[in-house]
Amino acid sequence: MPAARSLPHRHFDALIIGAGGAGLNAALRLAAANLRVAVVSKVFPTRSHTVAAQGGVNAALANALPDNWHWHMFDTVKGSDYLGDQDAIETMCREAIPTVYELEHAGVPFSRLDNGKIYQRAFGGQSQNFGGEQAARTCAAADRTGHAILHTLYQQNLRAKTHFFDEYFAVDLIRDDEGVAIGALVLDIESGEPLIIEAKTTLLATGGYGQVFRTNTNAFINTGDGMAMALRAGVPLQDMEFYQFHPTGVAGKGMLITEGARGEGGYLVNGEGERFMERYAPKARDLASRDMVSRSIVTEIREGRGCGPNKDYVLLKVDHLGADVVHHRLPGITDICRVFLGIDPAKEPIPVFPTAHYAMGGIPTDRHARVVAPARHGPEEVVPGLYAAGECACVSVHGANRLGGNSLLDILVFGRAAGTDILSYVAEHPNHRPMLDAHIEPAIARLARWERQGEGERVADVKAELRRLMEDHCGVFRDQPTMAEGVEKLKALRERVEGVRLRDHSQTFNTARIEALELDNLVDVGMATMMSALHRDESRGAHSRVDHPERDDERWMKHSLYLREDDRMDYKPVRTKPLTVESFPPKPRVY
């Protein structure tokens, strides 16, 4: 590994790590203002996970039904189980409207109503008039909204002369002695050559970390890279116990089988052929809430009533609905089953298991997307020059649970907010701060660690074990003994990572090295998740504890903060005061 002083340096006003919707929306704002912008992406930008978002973007345009940003705000606060920060939520819901129009002008082909206005569909959790009638708030470009947004933003960035470092992997942030973010060490995956990017500001926009769970819906790239970089730079991660699971993923593979399957009359059976949801939720049965159905499936399996040779899944039956209903109303499921399982769901049941989908937690930021961390003057001191936006950040607009249609909105609004704040930061701080070798050394040491020769465990084996461990001990079934055991196992696994060795030490396209660096990241975010979940002994939003089934506002109306040093937990208050309107006080969350 080369010494710090021999590495090449490049200089930019802004460094953006991650080329999904958040990163590209920030980059566009900056490049359009003629800043020098570098976007580092480990895969080609249009292969970012934003491309998989099918749902749409919420905005109270009131095109289909009456609507108001304040109603959208109410729904989001309620959906968050009152853990969302109400200043950030107000910002997001207000900004949603100009954000959608801005995208429309940039060329996103939104679906239209007959009168030419943007079409809006109804989604769960959307109400008119603060909890009244169903609202229709989601703007979509057919069923490929994420794809349309990502491609539009990418093209606009090319036009604005954003500098793309495609297939570069970000190793670590570089901070100076005063804690100011001054750039990052990145690795050209093709050549294996390290590069220092010096920047006046750095935005982390690396997305989620679903790959830490064995069964998940995320692309392979979602390994929590930015979150782990923040942790290693001494920044805590916030609310990591809140992870959204979907009850029905294809067992052993992870992709989603839509709730529509149960909506159309599909039901779940265990290894004994029993419709077990009747026992857990006599009224709602298979249409009970997501967390209830997820936990019931895992309980059946834990108690030995799973299906298959290893009794590790249950079956979703839609075959009684007839081929006509299945093939025409559930075409997506039919395709998935045919391609991945070789079955026709109109004839055979589908093996399912709860699948990890979306992280509500992440790098703590304020509503300007500035990273904030506890320091001398309080729990939310700005880390100068450092920003985060999108799934890797926790601003926090989703609180304990995210509403459908709010994730694309989050990345767009706060990606843009980051861009806006970076413009003024760079105006006030026009010069690069000096970067010394000592600032770079820790990042180089991380790379050098994987150069160690000799025998050792394989990355793939340890990663598989980590994913299994997280699923078993910090998945949808959570209680104190299960998670306490999980923490001990995870600490032991973290020790073992030290003994993992690469067989291949070549430079060019050494993807094994990248996977090793990703493993480091997964272990760190896994620990953040498990520790945060163990300590929160209440049930709120997506975090449901078998041993503490109630929400406890007196003790737990606060954000969790996990710090990597000594695996320490800290807490800070929820920002319950919006910017211009009255606060929404906590109420029981019933739908």
Partner: protein
Amino acid sequence: MERQIQRLRWQCRRGMLELDLLLNRFLDQRYAELDSAGSADFERLLGYQDQILQDWLLGQAVPADPALSRLVAAIQDCMLEGPRASSSNAGAER
């Protein structure tokens, strides 16, 4: 050859889990058996956008090019067949 497979493995990293699973499995299990025209087709296929690959690989559309159409069918078949040889990479756990 090994370096070529590593390079392609990175091109098989996509924005969607469905594509990751299908493409990586094919790379692990079948790519080595392709002749030079076949491997050129595979590289060409990887050059398409995720949304187009999704339409093709999940059977919502068929490539007009017969070579790509055959390749798409082979990738789909590979998903459902048992492993032909021991695979040596991260794909093994899936």
